[in-house]
Amino acid sequence: MTLGRSEFLAAYETMRRIREFEESLLRLHGQAKVPGFVHVSVWQEAVSAGVGMHLRPEDQILTTHRGHGDIIAKGVAIEGMYAELLARLGGYCGGKGGSMHVTDVSHGVLGANGIVGANMPIAAGVALSKKMRGEPGVVVAFIGDGALMNGSTHETLNMASLWQLPLLIVRVDNQYAESTAARYYSGIPDVLVYVESYGVDAIAADGNDVDAVSEAASRAIARVRAGSGPGFLQCRTYRRYGHNTADPGAYRPPEEVEAWKQRDPLIVARASAAAHGASEPELDEIDARVMRHIEEAISWAEAQPEAPAASAFTDLYADPATIAAFGGTLR
């Protein structure tokens, strides 16, 4: 238990916001309002919140297909996220990105990614860029547990160590890659030992306890921020739902799901409220405030017009000379 009262309340609010955002997406997707497919992070909120609370405006994150929580915890407005996912005007990516590509550069969110593993080397580059330009800050790449097996992990850990990059990799270990449990995809006995073998500092935290995540993240981030080289934070957790909106999650034993239900990070947090000097009614009030915010944000987003048709053909190229060249006029 390391969070002070106000930090705890803030973390709780972030987790609740993520939770309700994710649950609302399932509803909106069920109503065919959110197109495509969506990966939600319900029960994983403590990782997003516990890491995000230690990040500053100059810090940057890159996340995954299951990244809504990480993005919200970095301070991005849910209004723009809803607009994006509902393909409305005002969406962060003009409706072109959607769930797997939410990006808000102004808040240091350099993108989610639909390709497992691909965000890691890009994040290493953002970190290298900071270092080369002498800019302060930390870069965080969130990955899933299954992503660890992709070659990108190896290439990134090696370069991050070699070049001593201000990069923190946070592994959100929900124990499954789609339907595949870790024992079927991993031959690595101990992930921390593996990561340490690159000379990268690696620690673990209970991913369902926001106190634990926060404590570990604060240490890991401080180390990276101090210029002591890259770090790695492993958080064991569990996802409530199937892999995405197309998956009932039948490959998981019901007892297992039931056991993790007890460890819902919001339940865990509520159980610790008193110890943090917070009261149930305070938390109820936060819940109510978040619910109102969610509803308002959805209403706002639904009231926006569709992303304009013209935007299908913008934003591919940046340079006026390029655009001119395609148009036939050249500088």
């Binding site: 497919f37 097996m149 079927y184």
Partner: protein, 348 residues
Amino acid sequence: MTMLRYRAALNEALREELERDPRVFLIGEDLREPWGGTFRVTQNLSTEFGDERVLNTPISENGFLGVALGCAITGLRPVVEFMHMDFAMMAMDQMTNQVPKIRYMTGGQVSVPLVVRTPGGGYKSSAAQHGQCLEAMFAHLPGWLIAAPSTPADAKGLLKTAIRLDDPVLFMEHKHIYMLNGEVPESEHLVPFGVADVKRAGTDVTIVAWSKMVHFALEAAETLAGEGISAEVIDLRTLVPWDEAAVLESVHKTGRLVIVQEPPERAGFGAEVAAVVAAKGFGDLRTGIIRVAGRNVPLPMAPHLENLVLPQVSWVTDAVRAAVRGADVRRANVRGADVPASSVEVPA
């Protein structure tokens, strides 16, 4: 004949070949029960044939394709799945520099009886990294054979043939037609590579398509018939080799060619068809060759934007009308205002 969905036809092909040949096995992400593949193409197979014949892999596309290649050159017959075709890019060294070249480089000392099954296809609001049809890239790499079936029957028949061939096959399925129903011949249904299927006969214009676009071509042909335009629809079925003879013969008859492809126009496989006909069938052409294709932009998530970027049935009908109107071949200007100028890419 039984009615089967496209994905069930694929499943049946896999089952029959797993049954027939103990050297055949499946390898890819999440193929086993109770999941059976992200698009459920491998449903029940791990239950029926055991986990030894249906391998789940880590998310290591380059690695497990390499593993499959090692198996293929030593007497096994792997059928690989990449969950979405976009992810084949993670395995591109093996896809480019190893699988299609190893037989040639070794002077024929090894053969590569390996199939890569993978679904391409947009129209599902899945954005830029989950909907590409990348067949053109592989068509440019000698060594690959490529199938892109449009119907349940061809899906089954081509997959069975692919598994039996001793050469590497890129087998492009299409996400958007997995649920399409159709009649499928039972058991020994083998469709040969390199033989197109004339899905509809016609006399005024030849429409060439493959995969999902065949259905757009057929819909367009139906509409056009109502206008007195008789369109012949050719489903290539396989792109390498592709049935040049069938297309040239049709163009000889119709004098007009419209090619429909889903992915971005530039340097797509439609260009190859156009180039061959512009060489070998030039004398038969009465008007310029028209390509209907995706615009040269990535796929946007929003469905209404995606529909501006990906071909629509109306684009095909418009193109055919333009082709038929294009009687004056001199400066035919086939990209008139009413034809989607699919190469326009950066409007103001």
